[in-house]
């Protein structure tokens, strides 16, 4: 395992290895609950919390766990964390709990949780694992919220609809009616809309990545040229 800095961990989780847009893990909740910004945000926050709890717990118990039984131990830890988050949401955000329904307990099956436990938390210290959990969660949340925003605007002409489920009474004032008297665009709300939207998001991400790569190469080559001009013996490129 290459030693990774905090900045690298954050960048990996949110962008380079984004769970929703690159690794394509957790597609089921991503596609099912991204029909509005608030739903996406709710599930994204719950997943982030679970990832943080699991990563911290697993990196803490590392010395106690033998490698042969690590997977069952991960499963126990993840199941406990998800159950605790589920109970807390049921108690404190009953409205959102009703909307997200089965997808809260199903965080258990989100591969990114056990994936981060195995690939990162079991090999790194508490602080780094915590940052990794938050970064991975934020990446998933970003995908959920972006997809939710696209589908909500196209499908219902609103943004932050039903925000009171997440933020209490004052959340009602957050709801933006972007298009008055919008009749709705069914495709965006139905599952096919989720697949099409996700496809577009991945395409946009790939375009951005290609651009930054090209400009990075450009910077590198100009820098190389300057270097060649200033120092007569050209450096051997390997």
């Amino acid at each position: 395992m290459i030693e990774t800095g905090y900045q690298q961990i954050l960048k990996n989780g949110v962008w380079t290895q984004n769970t929703g847009l690159v690794a394509l893990l957790g597609l089921c909740p991503l596609l099912a609950t991204s029909n509005s910004v608030v739903n996406g945000l709710g599930l994204g926050l719950a997943t982030t919390l679970v990832l943080l709890m699991c990563n911290v717990a697993i990196s803490l118990i590392r010395p106690l766990v033998r490698p042969e039984v690590r997977i069952p131990v991960f499963v126990v830890v993840i199941a406990c964390a998800v159950t605790a988050v589920e109970l807390a949401m049921h108690a404190f955000l009953p409205g959102l709990y009703t909307v997200l329904g089965i997808f809260i307990p199903l965080i258990v099956t989100n591969c990114c949780v056990i994936g981060r436990a195995e690939a990162f938390a079991f090999k790194n210290g508490v602080a780094k694992s915590a940052v990794d959990g938050i970064a991975t969660g934020l990446g998933f949340l970003l995908a959920l919220v972006l997809l939710g925003a696209i589908r909500e605007v196209l499908g219902q002409g609103t943004l932050f609809g039903q925000a009171e489920l997440l933020f209490g009474e004052w959340g009602k004032s957050l709801t933006l009616h972007l298009i008055p008297d919008y009749r709705g665009f069914l495709l965006a709300i139905l599952p096919p809309g989720a697949f099409i939207g996700l496809g577009c998001l991945i395409a946009v991400k790939n375009v951005i990545d290609a651009r930054t790569q090209r400009s990075a190469r450009l910077v590198l080559s100009t820098w190389q040229q300057k270097f060649n001009e200033s120092s007569p013996p050209p450096p051997q490129s390997t």
């Binding site: 118990i61 766990v65 033998r66 039984v69 131990v73 830890v77 159950t83 109970l87 049921h90 709300i189």
Partner: protein, 210 residues
Amino acid sequence: MKTILHSMGMAALILTGFSVVGAGLVAVTYTSTKDIIAEAQQAALEASLNQLVPANRYNNRVAEDTIEVVAPEWLGTDQPVTIYRARQNGQPVALFATPYAPDGYSGPIQLLIGVYVDGTLAGVRVLAHKETPGLGDTIEEKRSPWILAFAGKSLGNPPLDRWKVKKDGGIFDQFTGATITPRAVVKATRKFLEYVQSHQEQLFAGDILK
């Protein structure tokens, strides 16, 4: 052999330890959130009941004044359905139940129906459904006022043979592109009214009905 047994034992021990600790943590969370969850559920129930019957019309704790009934042919489910009774100073005012319309377009539709003691509907709301978004979901109150048309209706008003959607010769609107959903809701509401009419005394008494 001994080392294998030893490592197996250690593994089992570790796993047992984590399971016990994990179960303990879940138990602690459960006990500390149990009352809050029950309270939130009761508040949600009362809020939805008060949409149908104003809170000042009754003064008992509706969530605790309940009976369970099993009546598949009337309530659309073979599971027990809870009937909530609203009373003012002990006198029956209204009752609520959450029966199902079993013949929705994509599965059963769970309704919340309130009926005053004189047999008129306090109102109908949709609690859960899987109808097509944009077509069948017009039965939701937040999408259309259609469901509000039930308030004040009773078995004699309209007469029994007009308790249908307009397409079938009744008085209730259907939606463009979705007739099955409103038809199912109208039918389930009528059935519930018939059930209440024929069982009124037992429903306000304390026994469990079969």
